[in-house]
Subunit: 122 residues, 2 copies
DNA sequence: ATTATGTTATAGTATGCCTATAACATAAGA
DNA sequence: TCTTATGTTATAGGCATACTATAACATAAT
């Protein structure tokens, strides 16, 4: 799975890492049980510091997307806390949809966007 | 319109201000043409510095939600750049929905959430 | 035995957030 | 007209976060 960092982005590097890994899981580029590169290895190929990768992995673990095993490294392992995920998604959607609502984006247009994105998950 | 700041949040104060104002517009608590409190006034009632409010207002202006008029203060005035808003929403949704997808949230469940939130806009 | 791993610690730099204070021209109100 | 409140701009300091750089350790694989 290819990971690309935009060093000119105002988004923190470790957040970019998180998001790309999560999107990789969602799009089935990496599956449950697969291993991510080691902290040092990924840091080296991407060209960033070890600790930045370590931070991303630590948060991904805490959020229930991977498990850190000394033998196998960072392994995709989803902690299925769906109720919590739904609550968090609602709060995020509330601010995101409000922006759209101000710009006159209809409920149907949001549905269409959601469908488009879910098309990528196959 | 009541604005409440969570000083223990890891979300920046000026971002909280932005989001609450945008949600206020979306839910029609404040309408096009209405004025927001002055920079100093809002800073005073909320208990924060003037520049923090000024920063929030400046970004809201730049994003096309308000216009700053020396006479009337910060006036709600939506710059209807819908195409741009749709592009931004798509990018935000891509990372948000990916998280949900990993946690097994279905397309239909997202639709339901969207509908719930749009119910607040009336 | 060597190598690579995750983990932890310390330290330095840079950037962003928030605050404090001050000053200015402009517009509204008395 | 005088006073007050406005948006705007400038400078500066404290603080937290992000990123990097080294270093060290025990553990597991080769």
């Amino acid at each position: 799975m290819l990971i690309e960092i935009d060093f000119n982005s105002d988004e923190a590097i470790y957040v970019q890492l998180q998001n790309q890994i999560i999107m990789g899981i969602a799009m089935n580029l990496i599956r449950e049980g697969d291993s991510l590169p080691s902290v040092r290895q990924l840091a080296n190929t991407v060209g960033i510091n070890m600790h930045t990768v370590n931070k991303a992995y630590a948060i991904l673990k805490q959020e229930g997307f991977i498990q850190l095993d000394r033998r196998r490294g960072a392994v995709i392992a989803i902690d299925m806390d769906k109720a919590r995920a739904l609550l968090e998604m609602r709060e995020q959607l509330r601010v995101l949809l409000a922006r759209g609502r101000c710009k006159d984006i209809s409920k149907e247009e949001v549905h269409a966007l959601v469908d488009e994105i879910y098309e990528e998950y196959r």
